[in-house]
């Protein structure tokens, strides 16, 4: 029997790990992620979860432990945030190069200095080039469901890459919502035990990651890109099977009232949820507006982005992140996705909500107002006090 529980986003991650029957957890505490691993520690201690929990001395070691555990053939999980994710950077590449299907939760938090603990996506978007699949969630049910989907995709032989599930600090991590937990027997039918083709096997010894010269390294990188491309269909299949079994539907992107829309807002995570209210209000006034929430940022859903945006007149990208010297990171990718289209919409890049500042219905309303009367620009700042 499935069970309804009112839980915060952090605990949705923990329950997702439990329902996925993770076997090894290695984690280090950091605000606002800490509750993820606190709950998992309790569950390991009371026997709810039969997993090895390595209480490591740093996030770098957390990822290295997951890498060792996954290479040995077990299902590994960790969670972190901001500084912790940045410290892991070297090992994020390692997990990808070693083709290990680790799943990690990252609670989006702004990077220091100055010290801050509030939401912003620059931490995870800075890791976009490591080769991790990235899912940006917009509610707690999606967080929970995404853990199972993530393992299903990651462990698929065609993919064999790690997945990062990303949720906004506090807006999701500490906000309680009703979440339907999947019955374990049903979950077990959806997600089978991890049984990799290659692992550190004492009965069949192999060496992994040995010195590779220019004669083969490039082919290995090609295969990682190919796996990312192939993962699109694997994700679609995994999400279809999920819908068939559990009734909840997920896409690579989530379009909202995009049909016939002339102006479409593009965003990720919780800012996109807030935007739905603005879309409804503007639609009530007769304005042809829509929303495209990007759920998978890696692999980047080029086909879906083009399909939904190419017939619009204006695209507004809302970024709660910044690549200094360039601008919003989602903006850059959306813009480049549209470059080869014959008829292109005008595209506006807005930066808002950095350091966890609220992105309210008002903020988003102002974006639409501004785009209506101004020319497009690569970077426009919302509500800056300078």
């Amino acid at each position: 029997m499935s069970e309804q529980k009112v839980i915060m986003g952090n605990h949705a991650l923990s329950y997702g790990a439990v329902t996925s029957r993770v076997q090894v957890i290695a984690a280090y505490p950091i605000t606002p992620q800490t509750q993820v691993v606190e709950l998992l520690s309790e569950m390991c201690a009371d026997g709810t979860l039969d997993a090895e929990f390595i209480k490591v001395e740093s996030e770098h070691s957390a990822m290295a432990a997951c890498i060792g555990a996954s290479a040995a053939g077990s299902r590994a999980f960790t969670a972190t945030s901001a500084q912790g994710l940045a410290l892991m950077h070297e090992m994020l590449h390692w997990a990808v190069g070693a083709r290990l299907p680790i799943v990690m939760g990252n609670i989006n938090r702004s990077m220091a200095p100055p010290w801050t603990i509030w939401s912003e996506q620059t931490d995870s978007l800075s890791q976009r080039d490591t080769g991790w699949l990235q899912i940006y969630a917009s509610n707690n049910q999606e967080v929970y469901d995404s853990v199972l989907i993530a393992y299903k995709v990651a462990e698929n032989e065609k993919v064999s890459l790690p997945v990062m599930i990303i949720l906004d600090a506090f807006f999701l991590s500490h906000t309680s919502e009703n979440v339907t937990l999947i019955d374990q027997k049903d979950a077990d039918k959806y997600l089978k035990p991890y049984n990799p083709k290659y692992k550190l096997d004492i009965k069949n010894p192999h060496t992994f990651g040995g010195l590779t010269g220019p004669d083969w390294y490039m082919e290995l990188r090609y295969k990682i890109q190919k796996a990312m491309e192939d993962s699109i269909d694997v994700i679609k299949d995994a999400q279809k099977e999920f819908k068939d079994m559990f009734g909840r539907e997920y896409g690579l992107v989530e379009p909202y009232r995009c049909e016939d829309a002339e102006t479409i807002l593009v965003s990720v995570a919780t800012a996109a949820s807030t935007a739905k209210q603005v879309i409804d209000e503007l639609r009530d006034k007769g304005e042809k507006v829509g929303l495209l929430r990007i759920r998978f940022f890696r692999p980047f859903p080029y086909d879906e982005v083009r399909k939904y945006l190419k017939n619009s007149k204006k695209v507004i990208v809302l970024d709660r992140n910044l690549s200094p010297g360039a601008g919003g990171i989602v903006f850059q990718e959306v813009k480049s996705a549209l470059y080869n289209e014959q008829v292109k919409p005008k595209i506006y890049g807005y930066i808002a909500g950095l350091g966890g500042r609220d992105i309210t219905v008002d903020t988003i309303g102002k974006l639409f107002d501004d785009a209506k009367k101004s020319e497009p620009a690569d970077i426009k700042w919302m509500e800056v006090k300078i």
Partner: protein, 294 residues
């Protein structure tokens, strides 16, 4: 009691070690006792190269190459994973150089030692960053030449006392061993395989190109290091029970000058420098004897 070295080989010929490499001999000897139920992890170190380029490998057990600072924790991760999926008991082995142990890897080492993770940690100590071409590490002895401590300004600090640092974690078993004393090494390994928890082995591994010595002198140098008390062989159980194996605590140490002057890296040393080193070795030897209660 006489100990014999197991005949079985887990290291193939054709690896890429330099002639007279102490580190290569060390792994050969260690694998003989640990056997097939062993999974190795190497951080960046000479062995990252010695093992051979893709698609070749010189070891007959599974091996995972990992990042420089992660030997201990990668082994701990492998152990945790193997525990969940492997029916048989697995020796999870971190095999690291001195740079990956004394310097960049000491955080992960300390973490694994403190948690008493059930792994073996071996440092094959050639006393500098040899794989990158002989740069000083905190394992480099005072007075030694390296490419970052030229003879005009050789290393001014004494070698970091890593064994004491590990002992401060009260790990169940640790030992210093040498490729020049394979029976002693094998005997200690046979003891360690019965121990559950963190096992630490410090192996002195002479390095002909880095020490500027003749390849045929590797075994001799290992012996001289032990006999002079520069690298005494001992065990520590639970951070407190010290047992000295060699040299005999009842006999006088051989002077250090013969060991030092046999190596190009020390040939610039003056009499006073050698005297300072001798005094330091004597002091440490007395301290070790005190700890061992002899």
């Amino acid at each position: 009691m006489k100990y014999s070295i197991p005949q079985k080989e887990f290291l193939n010929p054709g690896h890429l070690a330099c002639q007279g490499c102490g580190g290569a001999l060390a792994l050969r000897l260690v694998l003989k006792t640990l056997g097939e139920n062993t999974i190795l992890t190497f951080p960046a170190c000479c062995w990252s190269v010695i093992d051979g380029p893709f698609p070749y490998s010189s070891v007959k057990v599974p091996l995972f190459h990992t990042a420089f600072e992660t030997a201990a924790i990668t082994a701990a991760g492998i152990k945790a994973g193997a525990k969940k999926v492997e029916k048989e008991y697995v020796n999870a082995v971190a095999w690291a150089g001195d740079g990956g142990t004394y310097d960049i890897g000491i955080q992960a080492l300390s973490g694994a030692a403190e948690r008493n993770d059930d792994i073996f940690y071996f440092v094959y100590d050639n006393e500098a960053y040899m794989n990158t071409g002989v740069q000083r590490s905190s394992a480099t002895p005072k007075g030694a030449w390296t490419t970052t401590t030229p003879t005009t300004f050789p290393k001014s600090e004494f070698k970091k006392d890593l064994d004491a640092i590990v002992a401060a974690h009260n790990v169940p078993y640790q030992a210093t061993v040498s490729v020049s004393y394979p029976e002693d090494l094998t005997k200690k390994l046979e003891k360690a395989v019965k121990v559950r928890g963190f096992k630490f082995f410090h192996i002195l591994a002479p390095c002909p190109p880095g020490w500027k010595t003749n390849p045929e002198d590797t075994i001799k140098l290992g012996r001289m290091a032990v006999e002079s008390g520069i690298f005494p062989l001992y065990e520590i159980e639970n951070g407190e029970k010290y047992t000295i194996n060699m040299p005999s605590p009842k006999k006088d140490l051989k002077p250090v000058n013969e060991y030092l002057l046999k190596q190009g890296r020390f040939r610039h040393l003056k009499e006073d420098d050698i005297k300072t080193i001798q005094e330091y070795v004597n002091k440490r030897w007395e301290k070790l004897k005190r700890l061992a209660g002899v």
